[in-house]
């Protein structure tokens, strides 16, 4: 793991809850599928164990409901979905994120503009 990857991982940690909630808001999903969908959306460095642990924690905190879907060939899958509390948490976190990212973009733009000239 090089330095860039470590940084990405550290940054991701803070917003992983938000990312997982956002994925589940699209559709109910099981652990490995959440990982896959996060990676499809460009979050390459998200750790499998981090997602798995995050799902468990959000579930324990009462933000998700879960149900087991038996499958004929593969292993049984534990699906997670947002409940009311999860949706509220998502709304709040999303708002925080937008505010934060706007502020950061503003800062970074200022820097790159200043730097460029």
């Amino acid at each position: 793991m090089n330095q860039a990857e470590v940084d990405t991982t550290q940054l991701l940690k803070g917003v992983l809850d938000l990312a997982v909630l956002a994925v589940l808001a699209e559709a109910d999903s099981y652990g490995y599928d959440v990982v896959r969908r996060l990676r499809e959306n460009g979050l390459d460095h998200v750790g499998d164990a981090s997602v798995y642990g995050t799902l468990r924690r959000l579930y324990q905190a009462g933000a998700l409901n879960s149900y087991v879907v038996p499958s004929e060939e593969g292993p049984h899958r534990k699906y997670y979905g947002l409940n009311n509390r999860g949706r509220k948490a998502l709304d709040q976190s999303a708002q925080t994120w937008v505010t934060l990212s706007n502020a950061l973009n503003h800062l970074l733009n200022g820097r790159s503009n200043g730097h460029g000239k």
Partner: protein
Amino acid sequence: MASNDQANDVASYATSVRAALSDLPPEQSEILLEDLEDHLREVAAEAGGPLTERLGPPEQYAQELRAAYGDARPGGKRPDPALRDLRRAIDRLTTSGWYRQVRAFLPELRPAWWVLRAYLVVLVLTAAFSRNYNLHPIPNPFSSRGLLEIVAAAIAIVLSVRLGRRNRQLAKGRRMLAIAANIAIALVAVPVLARMGTFPSYAMLETGGSGQSMQGQPLYMPNGAVTNIYPYSRDGKPLTDVLLYDQDGRPLTIGPKIGDVTTDYPTGADGQPITNAYPLRQRHFYGDPVAAPRVALPPWPSASPMASPTASPTSSPTR
């Protein structure tokens, strides 16, 4: 990779992860790791190749898991273990097969409840508007009262079923209201049902005595309950307003209500009812007076020992 190797790989990887997290309290690690194997199998099936290649060493995986699960616990607030045990017990219950079967079956009983609640409402209303009426589980169709009850129940059932079918599409708030109303009906009906005597004599005792300022019950004789007394004179004339007292000088009282029969006591000059003047003036619920029975008077001996010696020896009983 052969599926057998894959299974071994998953098992050994999971064992290592569990070992690295063995310091967690057991209930916590159980929740965290309960479907770890399923999850790892999924990864292995997708990726191919050994898990360590895909996920890194199990120790690191365990560290990441621990960090993601434990670090960002909101407010550092841990759920109360007792509460969590309860929640898990409920989870286990609600996912068990028989619970699902019961849950699936209960809606089938809805129409039965619609009928039952209509019956209960009529029963409760009957009990409320006639405190001493002798309630029966099935009203007597040959009394006007019972017939009224049956007709009311039939109408109520029709309304109740219609209401029940319509309520399926209710909004959430109204649905709650409807559920509360149903529970209220069930609760109110309980004391009424409990009061409903199954033994007639029991019911009579209760309706005769309960809640009345004047006490009174039927008299019990070896051949049945006595609800009125018809005195006759020696020569067979029916007597009225004969005052009867028991061996201790207490007024002998019956009634005032037995079954659907009501007694009208005459009121004395002091405003108090005279309860021991026989025969009692009784009427049925729907207003008809209770008719006096036909009686067979005994033939007196021609020389009555009670009569004075100067009485006429030719006097004979008349009817």
